[in-house]
Structure formats: C-alpha cells, structure tokens
C-alpha cells in the first residue's frame, strides 16, 4: 500500500524541488473557472429540481463535484510513465463499457440507450469516459511512434482513425449522436494539430460531409433523431413534442431579459415547463433566472476554461501534452457550442450535457478528468523532458 504512496509523494517532492510547489504552479485560473462553473451548476440544478425533489439533486451534484475534484487531482499528478501506461487500459475499459451498454446491461433513459444502471441508484454513461480515453489514446498514437519525420506517419494516422472508429461506431449504435459528434470533433482537432499530412484532413472533412448527407437522406438515423433535426428547423412543427421542448426552452431564456427573474423565481423553470431542465437544458435556468448577465458569465467561464486549455496546449513542452490539451479543448468546445447552441435554438437537439453545469455523475467525472489532464500537462508531469 505504501508503495504507490511513496511514488506519488516522491514524484511530487521531486517536482517541487525542481520548480517550486505543485500548488503554486497549478493553473489556478483554470481550476477556479471550473469550480465556479460546477458550483453555479449546482445552484441551477437545485433551482430546476427543488420543487419536485427538494435538495436531492443539489446534494448529488455537489457529491459528484467532490468525486470529480479527487479524480482530477489524481490525474493531474500522475507522472509520464503512469499516464502512458494507463492509456491502453483506459481505452479498453471504456470500449468494454460501450459494448456493455449494447448488451442487456444497458438501459434506455430519455430515448437514448446510453446508460448502465448500477445498484443503489447509480448509473454510468460510458460514452462520457470514452471521450477521455480517446483523447489520451489519440495523443499517444500521434505523438509517439515517430522517428525522424516531423509529421506522423500515414500508418499512425490510420491507426488513430481505427482507434477512434471503434468507440465512434459503438456510440452510434446506442444511438448517441451528440457523443459521436464530440468524438469526431476531438479526432479532427487532435489530427490537425498533430501535424498529420493535409490530405488526411481534407479526406476526413470530405468523409464527414458525405456522412452528414447520408445520415440526413437515409434510415441510418433513428426517427427520434430526425425528429429533433426537423424540430430544429421548424420549432412549431410539433408543439407538444420536441418542438414544444425547444420552444419552452427559448421562452424561458428569452423571458429572462438582461437581469433575469432571480434565482428560484423563474416562472418557466419553477413551473416545470422545460423538460430535462437539470441536464440538457440547464442553461435555460441560467437564462431565465440570472438573465443575460448571469448566462453570459456562464458562457465566459466556459470560454475561460477553453482559453486556459489552449494556453496549456501552446505552452506544452511536448507534443503528447499538446495533443491531450487540444483534444480536451475540442471536446469541450464542441460540447459547449452544441449544448448552449441547442438551448438558444441555433443547433439541433442532440442531448449533450453542459460540462460542469449539467446534472450527471459521468459527465461531471469526465469533465474533471479532463481538467486533471490539462493540469497534468501544465505541470509538465507527463513530459519526458524535465
């Protein structure tokens, strides 16, 4: 037992001696922004659920946050060897999770077959962890196996695509269009920054365009997914179904105005007019109750996380670290844009949580694991050159 503890503390001590204390060298702006987002999320989740469930969701959200912080702290302090060693394990476990979802172990919640329900009221959404796993897996593949060239070899890129294709396919089988798009976004980002030959990028973009075209015209997508896309195009098409949701969400956000109606005083929110408000549509609580002032602050905080991520990527001492950071940034960027975008009616509804803010353990843990990865890169923990 003491063995890993010695290694942990030993590492910490070494790095502290070389560059000063870990605590002082942490990216505090990033940490504080993520914590504020999580706490703000707790309030919004509470507001959306207190009428029906009291403090239950608030408590669970805060517990999730604490677990997330612990996970993040652990990841940020894992050293180079450890992190790289864990990548295959992490990848295989997450793939196993995604496969398990498709077996009778999986459960359907809100039209999406994405959950594994555990005893004692817990449930896990493996696609969230697949994002983390894919980030590190791609970063490893595209930064390691090189000799003299500046660019990843074709075989590396091909391997990266195969590694991404497996979770992507499994997620599409659930089907979870939102998570699949996140995986594609981070794949594109990581491959771009890795320095892979430009023709790969062009090829990927072409495949993506063809994929969207095929999805829209064939039966590849489930009806409910198409419904969501049509509702996005015409919110009045189905006033009691998906269109109803998006319309209620937009009424809530719109009626918030500049200053909002005050926390716990939004009538759309307190009246329960917005479905899934503590998860996918948590942004509408901020919109209605905190107004433009509060919701733009929330948006800015998300932007701060992304900005710090980009800074971490820029300052990374090594390509691996940079690719990890870029992967996280692309993942968050897409997820924030998709989630807030669907709240604001400029993106179709695909059921993605807003990082740190939406209620949900898996999302919270994955987000904090990602923060841990950024801190790890920032601290130079995983760099071979010290």
């Amino acid at each position: 037992m003491t063995d890993w503890w010695v290694r942990w503390t030993g590492t910490r001590a070494r790095r502290a001696r070389a560059h000063g204390g870990v605590l002082t060298r942490l990216d505090w702006v990033l940490l504080v922004a993520a914590v504020v987002l999580s706490v703000l999320g707790a309030l919004l989740v509470w507001s959306a659920t207190r009428r029906s469930s009291g403090d239950l969701f608030l408590t669970k959200h805060l517990v999730n946050l604490v677990i997330g912080l612990v996970l993040g702290a652990a990841v940020s302090l894992v050293d180079y060897r450890g992190l790289r060693a864990y990548v295959p394990v992490l990848y295989v476990v997450s793939i196993a999770g995604l496969v398990a979802v498709l077996t009778p172990l999986g459960s359907t919640i809100n039209g999406s077959h994405s959950w594994i329900v555990l005893p004692a009221g817990f449930s896990v959404q493996p696609s969230e962890f697949a994002k983390v796993a894919l980030v590190v897996a791609l970063a490893l593949i595209l930064s390691e196996k090189r000799d003299v060239e500046d660019r990843p070899r074709h075989v590396d890129v091909l391997l990266a695509l195969v590694v991404a294709a497996v979770p992507l396919g499994l997620v599409m089988l659930q089907p979870d269009l939102g998570s699949a798009l996140v995986l594609i976004a981070l794949l594109l980002g990581v491959v771009t920054v890795s320095g892979a030959p430009a023709r790969w990028l062009v090829g990927l973009l072409l495949i993506g365009a063809v994929g969207v075209g095929v999805a829209a015209t064939t039966d590849l997508l489930d009806t409910y997914q198409k419904d969501r896309l049509t509702a996005f195009a015409d919110p009045h098409a189905d006033p009691r179904g998906i269109g109803y949701q998006t319309r209620q969400v937009r009424i809530a956000i719109g009626s918030g105005g500049v200053e909002g109606e005050g926390l716990f005083h939004g009538s759309q929110t307190q009246g329960g007019f917005v479905p899934y408000q503590q998860t996918d549509f948590v942004f509408s609580v901020a919109g209605e109750e905190l107004g433009f002032v509060g919701s733009s602050l929330l948006l800015v905080l998300q932007a701060v996380v992304l900005w710090r991520g980009l800074v971490v990527a820029h300052r990374a001492e090594e390509l691996f670290g940079r690719l990890v950071a870029v992967g996280v940034v692309c993942w968050f960027t897409f997820q924030v844009f998709e989630n807030i975008g669907m709240n604001l009616g400029i993106m179709p509804v695909t059921g993605l949580p807003l990082p740190f803010v939406s209620y949900g353990g898996s999302s919270m843990f994955a987000s904090w694991l990602a923060i841990g990865l950024l801190q790890n890169v920032h601290l130079g923990m995983s760099a071979r050159t010290r």
């Binding site: 500046d150 919701s295 992304l306 960027t333």
Partner: protein, 738 residues
C-alpha cells in the same frame, strides 16, 4: 528524443493550433451574439409568450339578477345548491388517472361510474363523451360532477377528505322560480340554456368592444325575459388570475377581481293580477268545455286562449297569460327530452307557444272599433242612421248578421252596441266599388286596410319579449302573394276534384272543387266579399291578443298606440335605479277626437246595454268593451272580449280570447270581469280599495324597496332575494384560501 527535435515538432504544429484557437473563439462569439439577440433584443416577445404560457384565468360566476314584479315579489330568484366538484389536477396526479376515486364518488352520489367519469373528461379529448355529458370548461377549473346533492352526501365528502382528495362540495347559486301567489307566467319568464359555440365567438368579438365576455360554462337566457334582459341580469364574472405549472397546478395567485352580481329586472307584471288572469282564463276555458256549442251542437273545445292586461297610460304589461301552459320549473336543472317533447306536443295543444303574443285569432266584431273610424274617414256620417237588416247583398252573395238578427234603421252607436254586421258590409262593399272593385290594384286608398295598419295590426308590436307575432292584414298585396304560393295546389285540386270527400258528401265535394277552380284562376283577386269580411274582422284577418289589447288601450287613452313593455326598470341588488324602460309611443291613431269619444261611449254602451251587459251586470266599476265571436272555417267560434276600465278615467285594458270558446259574451266577458275584480278590489258587488291588486288601482310609480338586510319588501312581507346565499349586494365574496 532530444529537446531540440521535440521543440521543432511543436513549432510545426503551432499554426495548426492557431486554427483550432480561431475555431474556438468564433464558436464562443457566435453563442454570445445569439444569447444577446435572444435575451436583450428579443426579450419582450418571449416575456409575453411566457405570460400566456403560465397564467390562467379562473372564472367565478356572478350570481344572476332577480326578476321582480311591480311590487317587489321575486318572479325568478336564486337559491343555493350543493355542487360537488372534482379537481382535474388530482385526477391527473393519480396513478390510475383517478378512476378509483371516481368509482368511490359515483357510489356515494348514487350515479353510474361512466356518467361521473364522463363529466370529468374535457369535451373534444380522446375518449370523452359528447356534450353536454363532457366537461366544457377550462382544463384547470374544478369539474362540477353533481348538482344539488343532499347535505348528508356533501358532509361525507368533506369529512372523509382522505377518501375523496380533491373533491369539494360547495354552495353555488342556481336559478329558482318562487311562483309568488301561485303565478305560472311560464311564457313570460323563459329559461336558461348552455352557451353555444357561435355565441362564444360573437361574445369574444363583443368583449373587444369592452362588453362582458361569455364563459364556456355560462348559461344564457333562451326565452322570455331571461333571454330579453340577459345582459342586464347576467352580471360580470369574477376573474382570478393564477400562475400554473406545466400540469396545470396552481402555483400562485396573481390578481383577483370579485364577481359583480347581476342587476334586478323590475317588471310591470303584478303577480296578483297575473295570477288572476291565469285563473280567470283557465276557469273560462274549463267552464266553456262544459257548455254545448250552439253552432255545432257539440261541447265547446276551448283548446287555447290568452289574457292580456295593459296599463293604457304607458303600454306596460301588467299581466299576460296563455293557455295551455306548463310548469316553468321544468327548465331548472336541465329539461329531459321527454319533457321537451311534451311541450311541443300538438295533441296537448303545444304548451310552449305563447298564445298571448303569438297566437293568431280572427278579431271578429272587436275589429269594428277600427272599421267604424275607417268608414267615417271614407265619408260616412258619424251621426247618421243606417239600415241594419238581417242580411246584406254583396255582389251575388248575401252576407248575414250574427244569427241573422235584424235591428231596422239604427245609428252607429247602436250598431256597435248590438254588434250589427250588415251596416259594416254596406260600408265595405260601397267603398270597394268606389275604389274600382276588382280593378283596384293598390291598397293605398283603402280606408279599412289603412286604419288597421294605423292601429298597429299586421306587424310586430315591438314588445320586449323574443316572441312577438304580427297577425295578418289580408290586403290586396297579401292576396296576390298568397295566391302565388297556393295556386299550384288549387289548380291541381280543381282538375282531380275531391274523390275522397265525394263518397260520403257529394255536394261538399262539388263545393270544394268549385272553390279550388276559383282559387286557381282568380285567387289573386281582392273581391267584394274580402272587403266585407275584412270590415268585421273575419276572413283572413287575424290579430294577436296583445295587438288587440293595444288597440283598445289606444282608444281608451285618446289615441296613443304604445309599444308594449314587460320590463319597467333595471335596478342594482341594493335597490338603486340603473336604467328605466321608458314607454315608447308606436304612433298616434289617425282618428278624430270626436270619433274617439263616440267610440268610447259606444263601448261603454256595449257593457251597459249591449252584448256585454249580461256579463257585467252589477259591476261597480264602469267598464267599456266589445264582444267578438269569430268564425273559423271548420272550427267552433273564437270568443273575445276586449275592454278597458274605468270608462271615465281609463287605467287598464283587458283582453281575453278563447279559441273555440263560443260567444264572446258567454265565455270571455265573464273572465274579463274576474280580472277587473282583482284589479279594482271588487268584493261582493262593491269596490274595496284596499283589496285592489295595485294600490289605488294603478301601477306603482316607485320601484320595489330593498330592505337594509337585503331582503325585498313585498305586500306579503319581506322576502329573501336569494335563498341560502350570501347577500348579493356585498361587493366582495369570501374566497377560499389557496
């Protein structure tokens, strides 16, 4: 791997990182821009949308106003009833949609489950029964499932709230018909019915002009005074604006306006006179049925009738009775199909038809008060004498006096008193010839037609009731229009004859065939006989009892033809005058004062020494009037008595008619006398002023008095306005705490 190489590699990926950064920045900027557009620029539209989303209006119905008689007796009032309602929210929240709860409730109410369940379902939703068995109200309003339940049942519901969550038993106002002194007045009062979809649409249009909007659950007047004065009686419902959540649960109360109770309608009807008129009419009809008709030799059928009492000084309707009638309470709480069928059953005399305003009867000799001034107008000397033979030759046909009586050469006064027809035949025939006989195309110069129209006949009276008959003045234009409609039938019959009649009565069949031939070829002609019949109110002439009462009122009051009105004033529940129903003149009859005075004397003569003398022997109040015995082809005679009194200072006009009731003198005149008994307080051959139905024997000038306790002052003592309900005058109604 050296530091140098690693750094180089990083440098190569640097610009690609910049591309990613640009993507990130542009996406975030897009979100911020969109957020600004939605929340700051377009906020107002969404705020309005949010308001309609979550604000609901709960309507508290206003207590409908009372209908009072001239002395404050409620003719229509309200009483309290226990109404059991179910909260739809409660049903929705139950795992079984509340089926078990409704089962329990239906058992307690003693109603079938399906019926109670159906009433909780919104009309137009899947599985809901058809209106009116479904709930027509708003989804968030409690659904009334049973009205007028026993207090025992209500108590059980309130005491066992754990068994009946969301079920309430509350006192609500329902319409009541107290029938003071036993009055019926079914045709006057009318009834209420559920609002229709068209009315809702029209009313929401009206609401934009600032008028009261109808609610889905409202009842509106469907007939009689309830319909005519619907807006005055209805009041304004209270509106409570509440915030609701997605399932319609009330979250908070935003504003509340209490209901404003409806105003009271004070009528000219006097319950005592109304009761007397109803009883006199009914008695006259029942006694007539025991007499033998001299014409047919069979008992009189006396199938229907009417009695009208007017205030000759204002045209106010003091009483108006129709026979046959029905219990006005039949409408309360919803009429059954069977009951409705009985009201329109012809074999029962279609009790629904108000004979007083819509019954059409030949006026017969009562019409002579119009023919006489018409004759004078066309040049006959008012003070001349004329031959009253037993018959008068009109062209090729002899027209007879009633029972072919002859009176020799008499003046016009006597012609009225003894009701001589032949003098009027002469006037009519000579006038007809002077106008050009068959060649006369226009009615313009016909004095009889003109005078009848000047007295308001042949058109609606304009009474403040939905049922207003116009009667018929069969002039030349009417004959032509009628011929156009019927000639096909008569022309066909003229060819085929009447084989079905010929077997039993060949001479009658020949007569009918001949008549059909005439009607077919020359039916449009206004013949001499038509003019003759017209002059004595026969042939195709018909009037409503109300019209004839207005004619006699005009003669009594010196020539003013009134637009009759039942309503007198609208007052608030606390007794303040809101508006007066002002008497409206429909015109002044074009009869010279001397002629009117002559007529008045003649009508007095009818009662002292003429056809009405028998019925009014020993009556202490001077009455003027005219009998009428109208002949209807194939039926027994129509009995009339049209009158006014006191003769020297006229106050009331009273008309009674009984269809197939025999002579006017034998059936209607005694009924009129009984009504005057009540009007003037005649007891044992003498006037007892205190016994007069209306104090001083004239309609009260003042409005009924509302006592400080809210009760109404009536001659029989104070009467509660609304039995068992909170005082309607209070502007605020106690509300349940939410």
């Amino acid at each position: 791997m050296s530091d140098e190489r690693a750094a180089r590699r990083l440098g190569a990926s640097g610009w690609r990182l910049l591309v990613v950064a640009v993507f990130v920045v542009s996406l975030m900027a897009t979100l911020l821009g969109r957020l600004y557009t939605v929340q700051v620029v377009g906020a107002e539209g969404y705020e309005a949308a949010a308001a309609t989303n979550r604000v609901r209006e709960i309507v508290t119905p206003a207590v409908r106003g009372l209908v009072l008689d001239d002395q404050g007796r409620p003719l229509i009032s309200n009483r309290s009833a226990l109404v059991v309602s179910v909260s739809r929210t409660q049903l929705i929240d139950s795992p079984d949609d509340g089926k078990e709860l409704i089962h329990r409730l239906a058992d307690l109410l003693g109603q079938p489950f399906d019926q109670v369940w159906g009433r909780t379902q919104l009309c137009g939703t899947v599985g809901a029964p058809k209106a009116p068995a479904c709930f027509n109200g708003a989804p968030y309003q409690p659904v009334p499932v049973a009205e007028d339940v026993a207090p025992r049942v209500a108590l059980q519901i309130m005491e066992r709230q754990e068994d009946f969550p969301g079920v309430t038993a509350e006192l609500q106002a329902v319409r009541a018909i107290p029938r003071p002194l036993g009055v019926n007045a079914a045709h006057l009062l009318g009834y209420l019915g559920p609002v229709t979809e068209d009315e809702l649409k029209a009313s929401s249009q009206a609401a934009r002009d600032g008028r009261t909007e109808l609610q889905r659950t409202d009842l509106v007047g469907r007939a009689g005074l309830e319909a005519q004065y619907d807006t005055a009686l209805r009041g304004t419902p209270g509106i409570t604006r509440v915030g609701v959540d997605i399932r319609g649960r009330v979250t908070d109360e935003l504003s509340s306006t209490p209901p404003v109770p409806g105003n009271y309608l004070v009528t000219n009807i006097d319950a005592k006179v109304q009761r007397a008129a109803e009883k006199a009419l009914s008695d006259a009809i029942h006694s007539a049925r025991k007499r033998i008709d001299r014409g047919t030799g069979r008992p009189l059928k006396a199938d229907s009738g009417a009695a009208v009492v007017l205030d000759v000084r204002t045209g106010g309707v003091v009483a108006m009775a129709s026979y046959p009638t029905y219990d006005p309470r039949i409408w309360l709480g919803g009429i059954t199909t069977k009951q409705l069928a009985s009201l329109t059953d012809e074999s029962a005399g279609t009790p629904l038809v108000p004979r007083a305003t819509q019954g059409q009867f030949p006026p017969a000799s009562t019409f002579k008060v119009i023919s006489l001034p018409a004759a004078v107008q066309s040049g006959y000397d008012l003070h001349g004498t004329y031959q009253c033979g037993s018959s008068y030759q009109v062209g090729s046909r002899a027209f007879h006096n009633y029972e072919s009586e002859a009176y020799g050469r008499i003046d016009l006064h006597r012609a009225i008193v003894v009701s001589c027809d032949t003098i009027f035949y002469k006037f009519a025939y000579e006038t007809w010839l002077r106008l050009g006989g068959l060649a006369a195309k226009s009615d313009a110069k016909d004095p009889f037609v003109h005078m009848a129209q000047a007295f308001g006949l042949g058109r609606k009276t304009g009474i403040d009731l939905p049922d207003d008959g116009s009667g018929r003045i069969p002039d030349r234009a009417w004959k032509k229009a009628y011929w156009q409609q019927t000639k096909d039938y008569y022309c066909a019959k003229a060819k085929t004859g009447f084989p079905e009649v010929a077997d039993s009565d060949p001479s009658r069949a020949r007569y009918l065939t001949q008549l059909s031939k005439e009607n077919c070829t020359t039916g449009y002609q206004f013949r001499a006989g038509d003019e003759a019949n017209f002059s004595i109110g026969q042939g195709d002439v018909s009037v409503t009892p109300l019209q004839l009462a207005l004619v006699y009122a005009a003669i009594a009051n010196g020539g003013t033809l009134w637009t009759p009105h039942v309503g007198k004033a609208v007052m608030s529940p606390s007794g303040q005058l809101v508006s007066t129903v002002k008497p409206v003149k429909a015109g002044t009859v074009p009869v010279h004062k001397d002629v009117l005075r002559f007529l008045q004397k003649a009508l007095r003569g009818v009662v002292t020494s003429g056809t009405g003398a028998g019925a009014f022997a020993g009556f202490p109040v001077p009455v003027s009037g005219k009998t009428g015995t109208g002949e209807v082809y194939g039926k027994q005679a129509t009995s009339w008595f049209a009158s006014y009194a006191p003769s020297d200072k006229p106050q009331y006009a009273v008309v009674v008619v009984v269809s197939q009731g025999g002579t006017g003198a034998s059936t209607s005149a005694p009924a009129v006398r009984k009504i005057y008994d009540t009007l003037f307080g005649v007891k044992g051959g003498a006037v007892v002023p205190k016994a007069a139905a209306q104090p001083g024997a004239h309609p009260p000038a003042a409005l009924p008095v509302v006592r400080p306790d809210g009760r109404l002052q009536t001659p029989e003592g104070p009467v509660a306005a609304n039995e068992g309900l909170p005082d309607a005058r209070r502007s605020t109604v106690p509300r349940q705490a939410s």
